[in-house]
């Protein structure tokens, strides 16, 4: 990551003490993440992640932090933001907006099996249920409106084939979004970026166990089914071909439904949302690839993966055999 703020031990210590978390005993930076600077911090009370927001607008931040707090208080294992004496979750460190959240144990599983997919499905369903009562509202900022804005920007950079696919898929998604069926999809706060590297697992007696979801900084109100589609497109596929693997996708979806039943309308629109979720990440990768921001990613990810995923979801619409 090119954007990175150095945080002094003493100023981090002062922040943690002001939150009642005790004196800092260890602090080290995490060289990952695109939008934020992250540090692991240890005090006598536990382990924390200290996040400085480098790009997100300060007005957007309370929504994410309140959502995480809402979920943590409803028993969903997500990083819990630590409040100051006034109850506020957003702090200031090194002149930047900052948060201190609990550190989840565990590490990523980049080659998940059915057991991992099942656990992710079940917890995603629980999370969607638990988020129902969450009152703050902020749009999903990488949703349909952003796709419509972004397609024309990347068009000059892509091949005619790709341009044709982008245009036709955007048109298809706008039709879905404007349809009665699209509008009837249950909506709520979604994570919107629940890839394998935003979940933690640890091992108990040789078996991996999901410890929680994190990085809610793309969250916003949208169709719950979009989260399901993002997960299917990342957790339950063959990454070489981009194809869904039914031995992963079916356990994922069955486990999701064990905690939150999909409506008949959601089941019908799943193939369309799988396309939408592929389009969203193809677009953002095209953007990062052709229009690198100042001081952004040093190594943007290859957009071609999500082009393959999108073409496959169009050619092979998946109707789950449930």
């Amino acid at each position: 990551m090119a954007v990175y703020t150095e945080v002094g031990f003493d100023e981090a210590d002062r922040l943690l003490k002001s939150l009642g978390l005790g004196a800092l005993t260890d602090l080290h930076g995490i060289r990952s993440g695109i939008e934020n600077t992250n540090y692991y911090a240890t005090t006598a009370q536990g382990q924390w992640v200290l996040t400085l927001f480098e790009r997100l607008a300060r007005e957007q931040l309370p929504y994410y932090l309140q959502l995480m707090q809402h979920l943590a208080l409803r028993g969903i294992p997500v990083p819990a933001p630590q409040a100051g004496a006034d109850g506020g979750l957003l702090h200031t460190l090194a002149g930047k907006p900052a948060a201190v959240v609990t550190r989840l144990p565990g590490s990523h599983r980049m080659a998940p099996g059915a057991l991992h997919c099942e656990q992710v499905g079940s917890m995603l369903g629980r999370m969607h249920r638990a988020s129902i009562g969450f009152e703050p509202d902020q749009p999903h900022l990488r949703g349909l409106a952003w796709w419509a804005e972004t397609v024309p920007v990347v068009l000059p950079h892509v091949t005619p084939d790709e341009a044709e696919l982008l245009r036709s898929e955007l048109e298809f998604q706008q039709a879905v979004g404007g349809s009665a069926a699209g509008n009837a999809l249950p909506r709520g706060p979604i994570h919107a970026d629940l890839f394998r590297d935003n979940a933690m697992f640890d091992e108990t007696a040789g078996e991996d166990r999901l410890c929680g979801f994190f990085d809610f900084y793309f969250a916003g109100t949208d169709a719950l089914l979009f989260d399901v589609a993002v997960c299917l497109n990342d957790w339950c596929i063959d990454h070489a071909s981009g194809r869904l693997v039914e031995d992963l996708a079916v356990p994922f979806l069955a486990a999701y439904q064990s905690t939150r039943l999909l409506t008949p309308g959601e089941l019908r629109l799943l193939p369309a949302l799988l396309r939408a979720a592929a389009l969203r990440f193809w677009l953002s990768r095209l953007w990062d690839w052709y229009l690198p921001r100042e001081a952004a990613l040093l190594a943007p990810k290859d957009p071609a993966h999500f082009e393959r995923v999108l073409r496959d979801r169009i050619d092979n619409p998946w109707h789950p055999p449930l």
Copy 2:
């Protein structure tokens, strides 16, 4: 349980709605617990435990609920009390003080192995660390002062041998409690009743995994080592003889120390605290056995088990081979 308050579906529904948890879809009573009436409640948002406090004084309750909230917000899986619009955690239902907390998944493991003991030890250490910053203070109401009060009350009911043991053990514990070493023990909010039936496990791929601790209604400020001793005396023993089983006790303690290191003073006083923890439950069981309260337990537990445990801890002081 003889004390039991019937809660109507409609009044429970009103309470859950007022907490922003959605409409009640299912409610059923749990016929367990000594001091409280408990119901499982389901709404679209999730599953909850609704507790009516039958015996605890209303003034005591905020402490327990605030402690649970503090721990939940620091990532310890404990039932999280749900707040009303004013932030209050204590509500009223059927004319009784009441709380609504998240329901932990899982079930008890009454024949724990080393894997269970390890997980309990590790989470207990994490919980003790996370509780350091908790500011409300309430004494541990089943601590030394209560033992001193209760020994004379049960003495007339027990055999001369038992009376002698109660008197001499109380004297020993008063000496420990009044000693410099006793006063130097790290103190904080402890659970104080962390038996096997106050922890939940569920199964992932055939392996049990700790989902959390509950029932904090004996919690209070005392030596953290008391919690360790209560756990050792229940999780890590042969229940027929009452003896510690090193194959359970050593993994338990090593796991505890992986998250919170015991001080040299704590290690030295562990044999004394194992006796204290045995005395505390022997005393409460003697009380329940010989002085049954009106409408209390229908079937009080046999006090003889903890008499055996106490005699064993005196005869075989355990110095962990760490």
